[in-house]
């Protein structure tokens, strides 16, 4: 590249990156730095407390309980969503009449905001007389305490998050399936591979890139999710839906304890990095 051309990459990068640095990266770093500070309300003003906030967080049973909830939630919701999305993509990839209509219907929840999703599902999951219980009673299943029992509430959050989340990931898988050259599948079939073998040894390996993307993006999206908890269960009952992100929100925005809230956010960020790292290594190793 000639002299002037050397700056070309930066010209292309500048507008977007400058905005991201100013409005995303800087606030993130500022928040992380806040985790080293405390607001000494008694002495007044903001003071450096080193790792004091981390110490508090790591010795806080509520934090550890919410880590457990988050761990359980992540394992369940991500597994369910990825498997369902892949299954739905295979179904939506069927060559039958009217399939585009079905694909359009499947995409609808993408357009519904998480707040609206939460409100509508919250009403449908009402334990006393919600629509879902109404439908269960038709088939003879007794009423379920969806949002009010510690055994059920997390599952209810998973259900609504899945309704909202799966369609987007289905779209990615569907695209991946359509990108698989037909000749490869044909060749496998001629070699005598059954349908399961075709899926297991041809389709799935060829979807690895999409699978990795969906897995990582879905994991991150679910780590960040707390609106349904905020609007429906407030972390309860008995802390059974108290996700770390919700606890972080509550410490920062309700209790006004920014130091502790930021320390939680930092720890959570480390955890997300670790989980994504593991996902990458596991899926890349298969190459």
């Amino acid at each position: 590249m000639t002299g002037r051309e050397r700056f070309m990459p930066y010209v292309f990068l500048l507008p977007a990156l400058a905005l991201i640095v100013i409005f995303n990266l800087f606030p993130t770093i500022a928040t992380l730095i806040e985790s080293l500070h405390g607001n000494s309300l008694v002495r007044g003003g903001r003071v450096f407390v080193g790792l004091g906030n981390f110490n508090r967080v790591l010795n806080d049973p509520i934090f550890w309980k919410s880590m457990q909830v988050t761990g359980l939630f992540s394992v369940l919701v991500n597994t369910i969503q990825v498997v369902l999305a892949l299954g739905l993509a295979l179904l939506a990839n069927s060559r039958v009449r009217g399939i585009t209509v079905f694909r359009s219907i499947y995409l609808l929840p993408v357009a519904v905001s998480i707040n609206v999703t939460t409100v509508v599902w919250g009403l449908m999951l009402n334990s006393e007389g919600g629509l879902i219980n109404g439908m269960l009673s038709l088939v003879g299943i007794e009423r379920q305490p969806f949002l009010i029992a510690p055994t059920h509430a997390l599952w209810s959050i998973i259900v609504l998050a899945t309704w909202k989340g799966v369609p987007l990931w289905t779209l990615f898988f569907l695209a991946g399936l359509q990108g698989i050259p037909q000749t490869v599948l044909e060749a496998a079939r001629i070699d005598g591979a059954g349908r399961w073998q075709c899926f297991r040894f041809v389709t799935l390996p060829l979807l690895r890139g999409v699978l990795l993307f969906v897995l990582v993006a879905d994991t991150v999206a679910n780590f960040l999710l707390f609106a349904p908890v905020l609007l429906l269960t407030k972390g309860g009952p008995q802390l059974s839906t108290n996700l770390v992100m919700y606890e972080t929100y509550r410490r920062g925005f309700v209790y006004g304890d920014l130091g502790v809230s930021s320390a939680m956010l930092s720890l959570m960020l480390l955890l997300v990095f670790a989980v994504i790292g593991v996902q990458f290594t596991l899926l890349r190793r298969r190459t």
Partner: protein, 302 residues
């Protein structure tokens, strides 16, 4: 131009996955099973929307009447009424729709452009610090919930004196990591020949980008536009912080006005919710094949 280049893309990435050999589905029983599954899934996707839609045309006191025990009447308005819609429009929901539409539209145009530029740089240029920039500037923000870093962002916007202005809503939402990532994946797959040819003809990089690359990129442009649009359309927490003035009220905030201190007007909340959902649905569905193309033509598949 668009049509021609569109074909160029499908030639590079054949889209023939739809044509499964006939023997695969030769049993009608199997076909029936597929339809049953398709319909079941469709019902699950539709049920909440149908109920909410019906309830939004129902008087508030009767919203839950047919939910338990379930009757199909729950999915059709009992005592059809427009009172919920009248009420929310009387409180300025129409203006909120207009505001959100304008905000999302501007974000799509500006954000689409700058994120595409950045995505192109990551896909096509070699430069110092590329990897570290990608990790810190693209990946890191993707991992952090924006709402939880709102306080420093708020202080920043406040010190710029942007409170209650459009730019406070628009500018922080322009740079979008996910959009850059999608663009990068897509641009990496554009044949080098096309770019070389334009360069030999003496086109500058910017001209090449706007005249050669973008016209080839309709699927990813539409997909990124969708993400940018939804991001602003669904915004709730940030607008409430930086632009609470009634003239700047946005859709999701307007929906929440049905919630009062001691009660909620459910039919009004659902009416607002349905209107908020319909706009993206109308924008989303017609472009479905482009989203699939954008992903198919990206480097994600391998």
């Amino acid at each position: 131009m668009g049509a021609k280049t569109g074909r160029a893309i499908s030639a590079a990435q054949p889209l023939q996955g739809l044509k499964l050999p006939s023997h695969v589905w030769r049993h009608t029983g199997e076909r029936l099973l597929i339809y049953v599954l398709l319909v079941l899934v469709a019902l699950m996707a539709l049920l909440p929307l149908m109920w909410a839609f019906a309830a939004s045309f129902t008087p508030n006191a009767r919203v839950f009447d047919y939910a338990f025990p379930f009757s199909l009447r729950a999915l059709f308005p009992v005592e059809f009424t427009l009172e919920a819609y009248d009420a929310i429009f009387a409180r300025g929901f129409g203006d909120a729709l207009k505001n959100s539409f304008w905000l999302s539209g501007v974000t799509v145009v500006l954000g689409g452009t700058i994120n595409a530029l950045a995505g192109f740089a990551f896909a096509r240029f070699e430069f110092r610090g590329k990897r570290i920039l990608f990790l810190t500037v693209i990946l890191l923000p993707f991992l952090v919930p924006v709402d939880l870093t709102a306080i420093p962002r708020f202080i920043l916007v406040n010190s710029l004196d942007w409170r209650n202005t459009w730019q406070a809503l628009i500018v922080p939402g322009l740079g979008n990591s996910l959009a850059i990532f999608l663009f990068r994946q897509f641009f990496e797959e554009i044949p080098q020949d096309l770019i070389d040819a334009a360069r030999v003809d003496g086109a500058s990089w910017l001209r090449l980008f706007f005249n050669v690359v973008l016209p080839l990129s309709r699927p990813v442009l539409i997909t990124a536009a969708l993400f940018l649009f939804l991001q602003q359309w669904d915004a709730y927490f940030w607008p409430l912080l930086v632009a609470p003035r009634p003239e700047l009220r946005l859709v999701q905030v307007a929906i929440s006005t049905a919630v009062e201190e001691h009660r909620t007007r459910w039919n009004e909340q659902l009416a607002g919710s349905m209107l908020a959902a319909i706009v993206p649905i109308l924008l989303l569905l017609p472009f479905q094949r482009y989203y699939i193309q954008a992903v198919t033509s990206s480097g994600l598949k391998d």
